[in-house]
């Protein structure tokens, strides 16, 4: 059901006013952390809360923070000599991934435009616990309003002493810089994002080493999605027990879903984990547009999976979606009605991945091109209906092998997920 854990301020307070945010209890969480004597407690609470990354990969956030905090003292001074002087004093970094380039996803934008201070507070809390003095927001280039809101928020925070030197105590200094992306999907991948901030080609690195060990500028780095950071002030103040009261046992808390497509009221909705998809579509999004019938749902964006109309009762939680072979991904829910030619959608998805592959590893560089070519061959001369028997068995096997190898061997998430939606549509017989 709907719940306003992190969207409470959206549309209710002036997003440019720090005082409005403070009046809603803003920066209480940071004050509490700065005044505490036992700092490990906060990371343990975050772990107990069971918060997982909201960007798509769903890695446990508390575990990530703990790994980076543990790794930090192992990295001896000085930094590699190519690291710019102004970043050298930070022994670890906090990065907010606001590239939000997954198709059909717009929750981060809503959060940044409507409540920027909450995200910045979440980053500052994390920085204090990880002893970082430099943070970055990697912002999608097209998000002009979010850029203005964040820039303004940073200026205000610096002027009022919530960023800069001596934040709440003499020994805590932290500042945040915004970096704007130039439109590459791959730069939302965390290690490609680091390369981009470092001024290099946006190409992913082989993992391990993980960012918590060697991330930005070869230093331990905590990189989280915007929505993840927005959850941190709440968990810090209310504790893990309060957080776990919402959602399911395995997926605590809430999630912002982005509903788009053939519904009456598309938009971003914060829901409790475990809410049935049917409730989101029929009650929150107001049902399908009149005169149309549901054909398929693409969940998780281009990197996600198709659902059949009869799978609409699935609970929107990590375990619920995993049980039917899908993933929550970035929270995008694209509703496709019966007026749409699904083969066209598949072609568009294949073309998207072909265009966005960085070209570093063989399976993604060649596989995304071949996947598009196979689909083009299959759809040639079939404007709408393609009978099951029309797909030659060897072409189908080739599509499957190509997809399976991309999923199994690609260097990063882009190639690993590039065949998900297409193979799920074929497997579920949505295209025929």
């Amino acid at each position: 059901m709907e719940l306003e854990l992190i969207t409470a301020n959206l549309g209710k307070i002036d997003p440019t006013s720090l005082d409005a945010y403070l009046a809603q209890g803003g920066y209480h969480a940071l004050r509490r952390v700065c005044e505490a004597t036992d700092l490990t407690r906060f990371t343990i609470e975050l772990k107990n809360a069971g918060l997982v990354g909201r960007g798509g990969a769903a890695f446990p956030t508390g575990v990530k923070h703990e790994m980076a905090i543990r790794a930090e003292p192992n990295h001896p001074w000085p930094a590699p000599d190519w690291v710019p002087e102004r970043y050298r004093h930070s022994s670890s970094y906090i990065v907010c991934n606001a590239d939000e380039s997954e198709t059909g996803t717009f929750k981060d934008r809503v959060l940044m435009e409507g409540d920027p201070f909450r995200i910045l507070e979440g980053m500052t809390i994390t920085a204090f616990l990880a002893c970082a003095t430099v943070g970055f927001i990697y912002l999608r280039g097209e998000y002009l309003l979010a850029y203005e809101r964040l820039t303004h928020a940073l200026r205000v925070l610096r002027a009022r002493g919530y960023l800069g030197k001596k934040i709440f105590r003499d020994d805590f200094a932290f500042d945040i810089e915004i970096r704007r992306g130039a439109g590459a999907y791959i730069c939302g991948e965390e290690t490609a994002l680091f390369e981009s901030i470092e001024g290099k080609r946006g190409e992913p690195r082989a993992k391990p080493p993980f960012p918590t060990d060697k991330g930005l500028f070869q230093r331990p780095t905590i990189i989280n999605n915007v929505e993840t950071f927005a959850n941190i002030p709440f968990i810090t103040l209310a504790g893990s027990a309060a957080y776990r009261r919402h959602g399911t046992e395995k997926s605590p808390g809430t999630r912002i879903v982005c509903v788009s497509g053939a519904v009456q009221k598309p938009g971003a909705y914060e829901i409790e984990m475990g809410t049935p998809l049917r409730y989101v579509l029929e009650t929150l999004a107001g049902g399908l547009k009149p005169g149309s019938a549901l054909q398929a749902i693409l969940i998780g964006g281009a990197a996600g999976f198709f659902l059949r109309p009869d799978e609409i009762d699935v609970p929107l939680s990590f375990e619920g979606l995993n049980a039917i072979g899908a993933t929550f991904g970035s929270g995008a829910i694209m509703v496709i009605d019966d007026r749409v030619n699904l083969w066209g959608v598949l072609l568009r998805l294949a073309r998207f991945f072909r265009n966005e592959s960085c070209g570093k590893c063989f399976p993604c560089q060649i596989g995304t091109q071949r996947q598009l070519e196979i689909l083009e061959r299959l759809t040639q001369g079939h404007s709408r209906k393609l009978q099951e028997t029309d797909i030659p068995a060897d072409e189908l096997q080739l599509l499957r092998d190509n997809g399976a190898v991309m999923r199994d061997t690609s260097l990063c998430g882009l190639g690993q997920t590039a065949s998900n939606a297409i193979l799920s549509a074929v497997d579920k017989k949505l295209v025929h």
Partner: protein
């Protein structure tokens, strides 16, 4: 430095801390094919041909750069790994002219790769022959994008940075800055990139033209003509 013990294909093996899975497997004389890996260079881990199956890992992992951990259970020739290698070689053969890369061809054959499985009409790497300097030719239709030349030119050997990657996706390729001819680049003609190229995309100029059937006098005459043409401009 402490040692690490892990299991590879049912055999227990002990390697020193920091050794990669590839080194561990080779210690057991297990054959793992590699394409982009070169013992003198930082593994770029991009050809993915050396992947192995590590239990509890969601995807296959590259053995060239993955460091061995105690208690790992590794399978170097499971059906999943075999399929991956077969399809990777099929992809490579579908995109690149492998005629000057007999080693890669032999590996592809070992894994049963069907050369034309993706069909004949698919997009291939298409580049004109770059014959723009007296020392080596660049035939990027044969380039597999293993980055060895870039590494040799840059941080792993020469620190010259005359060539780098350009374009992206299927159109990613190796290029000088802004695509200028080699003599206008920072190239110092050290030859390290030619030495490192595994697929014949970079070849010594004289040897290349002799293999094409051009005799040396003819080549010199052509070169002289080119020089004269240039000096006229």
């Amino acid at each position: 430095m402490s040692d690490v013990t892990l299991t590879i294909d049912g055999q227990s093996v002990t390697v020193s801390q920091g050794a990669t899975l590839l080194q561990a497997a080779r210690q057991l004389r297990q054959d793992i094919p590699t394409v982009c890996y070169h013992p003198h260079f930082t593994p770029p881990a991009l050809c993915r041909v050396c992947v192995v199956e590590v239990e509890k890992s969601r995807v296959l992992v590259q053995s060239c750069s993955r460091v061995a951990e105690a208690g790992m259970v590794v399978h170097t020739a499971s059906p999943r790994v075999q399929l991956a290698r077969k399809v990777l070689f099929e992809m490579l053969a579908s995109a690149v002219d492998l005629s000057a890369a007999p080693e890669i061809q032999a590996q592809a054959e070992t894994y049963g790769a069907e050369r034309d499985r993706y069909g004949k009409g698919v997009k291939r790497r298409a580049f004109p022959l770059f014959d723009d300097n007296p020392f080596y030719i660049r035939d990027y239709a044969k380039c597999i994008m293993c980055w060895r030349c870039v590494q040799a030119c840059g941080e792993d050997v020469q620190y010259t940075f005359a060539i780098y990657r350009a374009g992206r996706g299927f159109d990613a390729h190796i290029s000088t800055f802004e695509g200028v001819p080699i003599p206008e680049s920072t190239c110092v003609y050290c030859g390290n990139c030619v030495q490192a190229c595994p697929s014949g995309a970079l070849q010594p100029r004289r040897a290349y033209w002799m293999e094409q059937g051009l005799d040396l006098k003819e080549l010199a005459r052509v070169s002289n003509l080119e020089q004269k043409e240039k000096s006229k401009l």
